[in-house]
């Protein structure tokens, strides 16, 4: 229960942060999809129906606060969860290193999907956009490390 509330609350807070202070403090800098970390964290620790609902809910809220086509981010989140759960059959996803190594390519893939959906590829160099998406994913992955560390040590461990 504590686990679910922690993820939901943090996810909604990160979306709030994405929608305002980040952009006002750094207006020229692109917004990072930080709530994706929460979706991945939900996938790393089990296959409960709550994880799927959380991924969908966070996607829906993010779509409502952005210009993204409705349903796209929810679908991307759900697809990411499917991949994480499939990977969990082969690797132990409870270690920080495996979590970070899984998060980076997934985050890059999610960024590419959004990039393609936004249509900016029609007007800009694809290589530059992909480099931007990879950079975003790298920063998101780096920012996820303290959150994953805190979650693995503090919230998740007492529930086992």
């Amino acid at each position: 229960m504590k686990h679910a509330f922690f993820l939901l609350f943090t996810g909604l807070l990160l979306i709030l942060f994405q929608a305002l202070p980040w952009n006002f403090l750094f207006p020229e800098m692109a917004t990072l999809n930080l709530s994706f970390i929460i979706v991945a964290m939900a996938g790393f620790h089990g296959n409960s129906p709550g994880s799927w609902l959380l991924a969908y809910l966070l996607g829906y809220v993010l779509e409502s606060l952005s210009g993204s086509p409705r349903g796209l981010i929810s679908l991307t989140n759900l697809l990411a969860l499917v991949i994480i759960r499939a990977l969990a059959g082969f690797i132990l996803l409870e270690r920080m290193l495996s979590q970070v190594l899984t998060l980076f390519p997934l985050c890059a893939a999610a960024e590419m999907v959004l990039l393609a959906a936004s249509g900016v590829t029609a007007h800009h160099s694809l290589n530059a956009l992909m480099a931007g998406a990879l950079l975003h994913s790298g920063i998101i992955t780096l920012l996820s490390i303290p959150l994953l560390h805190y979650y693995n040590k503090t919230v998740r461990v007492p529930e086992r």
Binding site: I15, L16, Q18, A19, L20, P21, N23, F24, L25, P27, E28, A30, T31, L32, N33, N47, S48, P49, W52, L53, A55, Y56, G59, Y60, V61, L62, E63, S64, L65, S66, G67, S68, P69, R70, G71, L72, I73, S74, L75, L78, L114, L115, A117, S118, G119, V120, A122, H123, H124, H136
Partner: protein
């Protein structure tokens, strides 16, 4: 029944989530007039914290500008006094022209254009995903705002409302890839469609190779798309690549407003609302 649900609980929840996402994706492709209840709820729930954050940030910024960052204030004051004197001179001439325009309109029995009504709003949030260009404002259906109303500033066009909740609305900026505005080049009256490029620039498409367009030309709205009134400034032409053997020029337009640093906007209301 319950045991069946319990057995397939995971599968049912996943199917439900994927189904909802697919349905909302397919429904987003249709142009609907109203914002869905769920979206309105999300926007209404996020409005108070966004407004509070926005207030705190703007107070902190104004405190910095008023009391700490006062370098060059004297020079700026001098420049402003000079431009005020110049504008006062121009205003006298403009008043004469307005009176003359009114007399001529009466003479030709043309309908007088009633002054547009608008309300001001503050930007309380920006796009939560980096690849799209939308902003959230602190006015909604409670303030007579409806979908597809024009959003402007004194410097020109900003965008249009695409989602409206009770006390907040989402505005699609003209730089977004999904934005299209019917526009013309003021000097030559060449008409085209202004489309966002997803960055800070726009592209004026369908400008015929026979048309004369030059760098620095002002681009204004035509009033034909039914959202923006005629003659609102949009921006200036920054790049023109001649068509060669093609049918259309490639024309790049820099919006007159820095949309990344926008803080206040005005929403044009329909007459009599």
């Amino acid at each position: 029944m319950y045991s069946l649900f319990k057995k397939y609980q995971g599968f049912i929840v996943i199917s439900f989530c994927v189904g909802c996402a697919l349905i909302s994706y397919s429904s987003s492709l249709k142009a609907t007039s109203d914002t869905s209840l769920a979206t309105r709820t999300v926007l209404n729930v996020y409005e108070p914290p966004l407004r509070a954050f926005s207030f705190l940030l703007s107070e902190a910024r104004s405190c910095w500008d008023r009391y700490i960052s006062l370098v060059r204030v004297q020079e700026e004051n001098q420049e402003l006094r000079q431009s005020l004197a110049l504008l006062q001179e121009q205003t006298v001439g403009k008043a004469e022209l307005a009176l003359e325009n009114a007399r001529l309109r009466n003479l030709l029995l043309l309908k007088q254009q009633s002054p547009a009504e608008f309300i001001s709003a503050e930007i309380i949030g920006r796009d939560a995903v980096g690849w799209f260009n939308t902003v959230l404002i602190n006015k909604g259906s409670n303030d007579a705002i409806r979908k597809n109303q024009a959003v402007i500033t004194h410097q020109g066009v900003v965008g249009r409302c695409i989602e409206v909740a009770d006390s907040t609305s989402k505005v699609l900026l003209i730089t977004d890839i999904n934005s299209s505005v019917d526009a013309l080049v003021q000097r030559t009256r060449s008409r085209g469609v202004l489309q966002g490029k997803g960055s800070s620039l726009c592209e004026l498409t369908f400008i015929s190779s026979a048309d004369d367009v030059a760098q620095g030309d002002l681009v204004v709205t035509t009033g034909l798309c039914g959202v923006f009134p005629k003659g609102l400034a949009i921006g200036t032409v920054t790049t023109v690549e001649k068509a060669g053997l093609g049918l259309f020029h490639y024309v790049e337009v820099q919006p007159g407003i820095n949309l990344n640093k926008l803080e206040e906007v005005s929403i044009l209301l329909p007459h009599g609302s």
